[in-house]
Amino acid sequence: MTDFITLDPPADAAPGRGEPVLEVRDLSVDFGVDKKWVPAAIGLNYEVRAGEVLAIVGESGSGKSASSMALLGLLPTNSRVTGSVKLAGRELLGANEANIRAVRGKDVAVIFQEPMTALNPVYTVGAQIVETVRLHNEVSPEEARIRALRMLDLVELPDPEKAFRSYPHQLSGGQRQRAMIAQSLSCDPKLLIADEPTTALDVTVQAEILDLMRNLRNKLDSAIVLITHDMGVVADLADRIAVMRKGLIVETGTAAQIFHNPQHEYTQALLAAVPHLGQGGTDATTEVDVTAALAAATHAEILSIPEDELIRRERENAAALAAAEAAKPKGEPVLELKDVAIEYPKQGRVPAFRAVEGANLVIYPGQVVGLVGESGSGKTTIGRAAVGLLPVAEGTMRVVGQDISAAKRNGRQLHEMRRHVGMVFQDPSSSLNPRLPIGESIGEPMFLAKVAKGAELQHRIEALLDQVELPRDYRNRYPHELSGGQKQRVGIARALSLKPKLMVADEPTSALDVSVQARVLDLFQNLQKELGFACLFVTHDLAVVDVLADRICVMQRGRIVEQGTRDQILRNPQEPYTQRLLAAVPLPDPDKQRERRELRAQLLSGAS
């Protein structure tokens, strides 16, 4: 524990007041695996005061979730928890079951990551909140109902009565998370544990939920422990931050200290790995300044930045935009969509669903086009249609010189076309056959296309493993023996195996940890430069396309609402939807994030 660094917050900077609500001392969590104790968290020390937000940041496997679930005894039975957890001076560890139950939901409430599965699908939202209220308070059903409605109103659900009567699946993701928050707050908890509360949500919805939590923190007097892997989420909400790695807290400090002056190298690496807008400017010195761009495009006023500063940033943007105008040489398009509509075909009684309408899009050789939008916007649909997995209902789609709009499903033409197209899928774990060694997964396309076999095939597989920077002897390993990032490298190698002219990448990094994501994106970028394939990069993350893409298409509800060069979209967004999307991206910098939030508020109030 030599690398343990604690920065004591200066007394005046601490936003929390009085005695700590939660005091954690020497908290260790072990899991019993194969009759051995495997540590998940080691000797954690932290405290949270009323009205204070402590963010615990770390990547998967860092022990951040396990240690927080241990506070309430929510871990599976094969775990062991030692140390001391004091809630308002009362020891929780080792307390008897009845006492712990009285604390759960009343004094300490939890918000979970996935709001769809965290609420019971067979009961109405109202019933579930009423259950919590009546469990801890001796109130009549009617009083409980009124309280539940008040909570639903507090979390800014547009129609509390309707939400009360709704089943979880009838609400959108953001509404479900609001309902979950309403349930958590229904007994005025002293401490709120939020475990990745926005990870499963779209960026605009994420921004709304973060706004809500900020408002609630000001209204209520709860202490909040926020568990997340996303430095952007933390920047605007946390007062203090604890960075965890491999079960240890490697650094704690105020938000300003961590962001502006990170001491531990892991914190520095974590911050550097967060993809954020402005990384991919045409030359490294001019950062894309979205704040200035948005302010200029919408004539919004930002109170916290001086006028001349904004003008200066905007001038930089204009210069960069002009530089970006020097377009790359073009050629025969690799992918061309003309007024394309794509439908999910009718299935039984479920009618056909038109997911994309009137899409126009061109990708030239060597170009990377980022397709961004929120869930349900149709971006994945376009990606799937481009490899012939979905039929084109209207318009023409040309892939690698062939018109596939009228191609028969599984016909010879699609077969032929797929030799020139590679695809990388979102979830590396489920897109690799678990019963095939990865070498075979990589070699399969070449074998099926009869381009190589025998020793030649083995040779090509080795070359591909080299390209994605995996050791050659990994070829005999099975997918479950690899980490997420390694699996996605295998996915990329497989997509590259036929030397495709076009690569369709569907959210290839969104299932990965930030530092892993950064390395995979790096690799992808290098391969693209080296091999020169064109790429349709589907993602929800604007920061990722900023790094990679030459052009960006923004999709909303099945339509491409805006497209242009990367710099046009990021430095001079015209569509209100693009502006909202940009303003919602969290920044790993507390000050800039505050500017962005002000701007977002103005955009939204201007829109309504």
């Binding site: 929510l74 139950r101 009285a102 409430a109 609420l119 019971n120 067979v122 919590t132 979950m180």
Partner: protein, 309 residues
Amino acid sequence: MPTYILKRFLQLIPVFLGATLLVYFLVFSLPGDPIVALFGDKPVNVAVAAKLREQYHLDQPFWIQYLLYLKSIFTFDLGQDFSGRPIATVLGEVFPVTARLAIMALIFEGVFGIVFGLIAGLRKGKFFDATVLIASLVVIAIPIFVLGFLLQFTIGVQLGWAKPTVSSAATVQDLILPAIVLGLGSFAYVLRLTRTSVIENMNADYVRTATAKGLSRFQVVRVHILRNSLIPVITFLGADLGALMGGAIVTEGIFNVPGVGNRLYRAVLSGEGPTVVSIVTVLVLIYCLSNLLVDLLYGWLDPRIRYDS
């Protein structure tokens, strides 16, 4: 919802027509002359045989026979069986007995299957779970007639806890042992289905949420695990009611239960087309209705299904 139920009822029409036609055809193509068989060892009286053939329309071609049969159904006059008793009366005698037997079996397999499955699921990997799993495997593996004779002999004859055969009144008490034998196979399936379902739901996020709310273990199980786990089990039970009604032939044979299975078996042997088809048609209708009931229950248990249709 009403349109959904109406639609399901309309779907019964083709099922009804198809089932009757198919069964009628199968009985029609049975080898041997049922009228000749009726005389047994006695010499065939040609005049009587011709009269009987006319009475049962056996002198007509298949289609006419079938249409005449359909007509008899819609005029609520099912005719007579070969012993001269109205078929309607026969149905009225045998169906209540088998229904009683099937419902008792269903209650047995439902209650015990769910309770044992729930406990086994909650104690996954422990002694109770392992024992119950092995026992259920044994039950599934042994053919029902072996189990039937075994239980009849040990419990009925040796221990004398229950009557080894059923009286003609077929009271509830008489039927306890046959019902257990009839329900044993499905009991094992219900148990395993419940267990799997409970184990799956125990690890669900909303169960963790329920615990985090401060609910006791018992409340979590009762309110959040049990109801969600029952959805697949109910489907199985509903479909099984139809199977129990029609599939009781072996059990009814062992315990001499005067029910549908016994009568159907005799009717098939003697080639009594109208009797066979009448019984099978009622069975088909029961099967369809119990499936409809399951679908409605399904919607009640799982709102995601209710609102999507």
